[in-house]
Amino acid sequence: MSSWIGNDQKLPQGRLAAISYLIAAGTLFLLIGFWKLQIIQSDHYGQLAERNRIRSLPIIAPRGQILDREKRVIVDNYPSFSVLLLREDPKLLEEGLPLVAEGLGITIEEIQQQIEASKSIPKFQPIQIKPEASQADIAFIESHRADLPLLELLMVHRRRYPRDGFLAHAIGYVGEVSEKQIEASGDKLRPGDFVGKSGLERQYNETLMGTDGMRRIVVNSVGKEVEKLEHVEAQAGQNIQLTIDYDLQVVAEAAMAGQKGAVVALDPRTGEVLAMVSQPAPDPNSFAIRIPAQEWKQLNEDPDKPLLNRAIQAQLAPGSVFKIVMSTAMLESKVIPEDYSVYCPGYADFYGRVFKCWVFDKGGHGHVKLHDAIVHSCDIFFYNVGKRLGIDRISYYANQLGLGRRTGIDLPGEMEGLVPSEEWKKRVLRQPWYPGETISVAVGQGALITTPLQLARTIGGIALGGVFKQPHLLMDAKAVKEETFTINEHTTEVVTQAMFGVVNQEGGTAKGSRLEGIEFCGKTGTAQLISSDGLKKVGKQKQFSDNAWFVGYAPRRNPEIVVSVLVEHGLHGSSAAAPVARDIIKRYYEKKGARDKQQYTVDYKRYELSDSQELAQAALGPAPAASTPKTALPPPQRKGASAQR
């Protein structure tokens, strides 16, 4: 035995025993800790465990298609991928963010902003950080599934709109839901959802949107799917069928190309909108995903106001088109005899001021009565009519005939225009009415402003003898409102005869747009933006030149189609606006003739070879690469047609 070992075999038994107690106490202490977690808080931790492993991914419902009146597709969808960011694991998130940013080509700050914006959403719900994943993004995500369990691809459906702004304002566009809209929707909408932001997309958003489905899967700690738990299919949105006639729209768009203005074509008997154009128009495809702030700013600040739907939002003086309202008021009020005659020397003096007729430079109209005053659009005649009727009577009839208030079309943002009256001026401007103003209003100038849609409805309604239908774009619109302001048969006859004369009579202001064999009627309008003397001072600057109007319809009595055309700075209604209406009405009758020949079948083959088809292709362009090769015009597979062949 070594020398260092002592003989002392007395062990510190007390202290050893103390250590035993310490061991027992320590064990008890730890067991209490486990008891707390496993018994008292087990539900809480159980939920956390479930949240860890179960991932809910949305299945996005495709939006309904938008079809024309013959069920041709105008707006459809194409499949795309959106990049989802999973935020459940803060550690992974922090570590992986630089790689995510690099791989997707976005900055870390941008991602962090989006995470911040989605703070209120539960962490287990992923957020969309890149709405349109490129091929490279998809490859990046797939190849990093194992080491970067932060990203997930979500199949989404993107809107494909016609190109070059075809029907753009009426259709509107979709965009990412705003925070306000999310709040307003309750829990229905989530950040990253797409909703209609304007036009029909907004008006019928509920119908078009559908209900998203949901997929619940079990994942492991690196985000790999291990098991499927639940699969709720998405319910696609419903299609909407419009009253728009694709063929007429094509003609209208082509006729307005490069111009600034609007066209509305209506069936006044039903209120169905057959075509609606507003130019210039933006390409809604560029905001179908996410519009860069700069581009959005540009669109908003553009002096040509491309975002304005001029058909329902341009409020401008109607010019001589208003003379139809004046004529109706004159005959209906019976304040002035029907054979009232005025001598037009080219100008006249009212209340100490000289008012010119539009033919002032070439002399005057001579002796004119109502019919010729409309056909030749004599201002002097209507100055006198206006003076005799007085502003309140003009205002009353204008209002009854549909001006100065909304038509009730199924589009957001319609403007109401303005029909001035003594009462209005006192109330709004706190000034008395000057009699001279009545003279201006009598020829559609002054404070009087109307929208193209209002004029279409008003002229169509007068030609129908005082029946005004609510304009609408939805084919199976329920409860279309109808207003009647019964106009005497004689009045209707006189006024429509005069409007027939405008287009068909020698010397009529729209004689150049006559259509052989069609009772094409209408009224031109040329509205000054500043006085003719003022115009001489500023020279021929385009922004001050006259707006051209034409509201035409056919046939003369009980019209089937009325077309309102506005060409801003178009100078003359007869040359700039009337041909647009003529082209549309011509096309309408061509189609009608074809329909009548083959009563129940529509031969689309004809259209495929026609100019309008080429125009349609030009407007729509080739389908985007990611989409199924489906043109806006489906092949002729409708029942009648296939039976025919």
């Binding site: 070594s2 260092w4 510190p12 050893l16 320590g26 730890l30 486990f34 809480h44 860890n52």
Partner: protein
């Protein structure tokens, strides 16, 4: 059998407890790694652990047959060998988990500090039995401190803070049993409390983060807090009966960090619930109490110091590791002895238990 050592004197109860704990460990290692692909380094880990246990039992039997007094005789030499090993590992060691504490021997890596732990138990047992007093003086305490301080300093250089801390209980328990005076104990406690802020200054940023996380877990669910949180979720969601072996979602989904090693108890707690934890912790308690019992029956003080040194190391490992699972202790790389997968730590425990057996077998020998 040599004179005086009989098979019936062997501590069969202790071995039974140890093998029971090892079995639980192997089952849970199997459960934690069963879904790993065959090519993974985790595949068949339970088989490897079984081999380590078998090798460990063999080492234990071998060590139990060498008279511990002979081992104590060689204490100074062993100490030098240990220090040399630690220096060597600093020079040519391999870095794993951020520490240069592994050395390659015959294609396998060995954690040198585990072996050194065993040597320090022996060295301190020798030192304290040479003191031969019931009133430990400050000078002796300083000497004991220096003996432990040298290897601890070398381990801190690796750096492996967790392992280094595990050396202290050997010295503390030894001092306690050598009759440290109460006034000294109080004084040391006070000094330690005062030095804590100073020590804070020397900690590495990740260590500070871990301690911050430990003190305020809700503020930091990233980084270190994540591991504790995932372990707590596993433990808590296990409930009373557990989710069943192989059915723990935290375990099978890989949410528990190093679930086959340091966090194996979290995996076990999830799959076997409070019942499983109760059984496991009671087994550890019986193991430690049995060690104290062996110390009480030791033939002399040196034997007692060896057994209690082993008990101190095992006890602190168990309490620190178990405390980690429920957020009572900050996350440090401390395995659960006998359960966590790991060759070095398993071998260390069995060799340490071999010394304990040795002491027991000598208790009636004069």
């Amino acid at each position: 059998m040599r004179e005086g050592t009989h098979l019936r004197d062997f501590d069969w109860a202790l071995l039974l407890i140890v093998l029971a704990i090892c079995s639980l460990g192997i089952v849970e290692i199997y459960s934690a790694t069963q879904s790993a692909p065959p090519s993974s380094r985790l595949a068949g880990l339970h088989w490897k652990q079984l081999w380590w246990v078998l090798i460990g039992v063999a080492c234990m039997l071998a060590l139990s047959r060498i008279d511990y007094h002979r081992v104590l005789d060689q204490a100074p030499l062993l100490y030098l060998v240990g220090l040399a090993g630690l220096v060597l590992v600093l020079l040519i060691g391999e870095t794993k988990y951020g520490s240069r504490s592994w050395i390659e021997i015959g294609g396998r890596t060995l954690q040198v500090s585990e072996l050194v732990k065993l040597i320090i138990i022996v060295v301190l047992a020798r030192f304290y039995s040479e003191v031969r007093t019931d009133r430990l003086s400050l000078l002796d305490m300083a000497k004991a401190g220096a003996l432990v301080g040298l290897p601890v300093g070398l381990i801190l250089l690796q750096p492996d803070f967790g392992t280094a801390v595990m050396f202290l209980p050997i010295a503390v328990v030894g001092a306690f049993l050598s009759g440290i005076q109460w006034k000294h104990m109080v004084a040391f406690a006070l000094i330690a409390a005062l030095l804590l802020p100073v020590g804070w200054y020397f900690l590495k940023p990740y260590q500070k983060e871990r301690i911050n996380t430990f003190l305020r877990p809700e503020e930091n669910l990233q980084g270190a807090g994540y591991q504790t949180q995932q372990a707590k979720i596993a433990v808590g969601s296990g409930g009373f009966w557990g989710k069943g072996i192989g059915k723990g979602t935290q375990n099978q989904g890989g949410f528990i960090p190093v679930r086959w090693s340091d966090f194996i108890l979290a995996a076990l707690a999830e799959e076997t619930g409070f019942i499983g934890v109760l059984v496991t912790l009671l087994l550890y308690m019986f193991l430690l109490l049995r060690l104290v019992q062996n110390a009480q029956g030791a033939k002399d003080r040196s034997g007692m110091y060896i057994v209690m040194g082993v008990a101190a190391v095992l006890g602190v490992h168990v309490f620190v590791n178990v405390g980690m699972m429920i957020g009572y202790v900050p996350v440090t790389g401390i395995p659960l002895p006998l359960m966590s997968y790991g060759g070095s730590s398993t071998l260390f425990v069995f060799m340490a238990l071999g010394l304990v057996m040795n002491v027991r077998l000598k208790r009636f020998v004069n």
